[in-house]
């Protein structure tokens, strides 16, 4: 077994959480959040700065601080789902927790783990749609990637 390979389908991705912060071992993530219908991108991006040097004809662009920022999720609202209830409580208490996005392709598995806080917990009820929870998680620092071995 290894990390995810060619043709990995996004639909198999899991959102897991651990109430212990700093968790970077995939085996510590056993609690899933259920009924996820929309999963935000883990968009790790660096800020840049431009440096001009006298006499050079071009601008030099360098990367500076990196920021994952915020991930947005949508769930089918389900008060009996332990994971959704835990996220609601994390938002209410402002606590930090560990999260894990687990991508899998059958045998391969890659985990991206990070600490974060739930920064938004909303409920939407469009007339022609299912009632959903909309949740945002802000990320502290970097994500740790672990491929299954």
């Amino acid at each position: 077994m290894a990390g995810i390979g060619r043709g990995t389908r996004g639909i198999n991705t899991k959102l897991l959480y651990s109430l212990t912060t700093g968790a970077v071992d995939p085996s510590t993530f056993t609690l899933p959040v259920g009924d996820v219908v929309s999963m935000g991108d883990l968009a790790d991006a660096a800020n840049t700065t431009e440096v001009t040097i006298y006499g050079e004809g071009y601008v030099n662009t360098f990367t500076t601080t990196k920021n994952i920022g915020q991930l947005d999720f949508e769930f089918l609202a389900n008060t009996t789902d332990t994971g959704q209830t835990a996220l609601e409580l994390l938002y209410k208490n402002g606590d930090t927790a560990s999260f894990d996005l687990r991508y899998s392709d059958g045998t391969g598995e890659s985990d991206y783990m990070f600490d974060g806080q739930v920064s938004a917990f909303g409920i939407s009820a469009a007339a022609d749609d299912i009632v959903r929870y909309t949740v945002s998680i802000v990320v502290h620092g970097a994500a740790t990637k672990v491929n299954k071995t």
């Binding site: 639909i11 198999n12 899991k14 899933p32 009924d35 996820v36 219908v37 999963m39």
Partner: protein, 122 residues
């Protein structure tokens, strides 16, 4: 869903019903149901399964007179439009009528066609 709905409407209307087509020389009034099935919302990490299924259901009511089928049409709309609950073991989340058409069919009979969208959990 077809079999469950057939039994439900049989009991509701007290007339014979069929799936997809009716046999020759069927006593009127009668109804025919047909449907199309599509997957509902995809859910992550659910072994590829969606939340449930969306059925496009068509109910044709056929009779020798308008009066023999019109009340049945109203009964179906009253029962199914806005329905949520159990139909023969299928958990219906919601049911909405999309449209209603009445016309004379090619055999010179009266026909009402009612279309519903039904979402189920199973």
């Amino acid at each position: 869903m077809n079999q469950e709905l057939l039994a439900y409407l049989n009991s509701l209307l007290g007339i014979d019903g069929y799936i997809i087509r009716k046999p020759e020389n069927t006593p009127y009034p009668a109804f025919v149901i047909s449907n199309s099935i599509s997957r509902d919302l995809p859910i992550y990490a659910n072994q590829g399964k969606p939340m449930g299924y969306t059925f496009g259901i068509q109910i044709n009511l056929i009779g020798n007179s308008y009066k023999s089928i019109s009340p049945h049409g109203q009964t179906i709309i009253d029962a199914l439009d806005g329905f949520s609950g159990d139909i023969g073991g299928v958990t219906v989340i919601d049911s909405t009528m999309n449209g209603y058409t009445e016309f004379q069919n090619s055999n010179k009979n009266y026909e009402l066609v009612i279309d519903f969208t039904v979402r189920s959990l199973n």
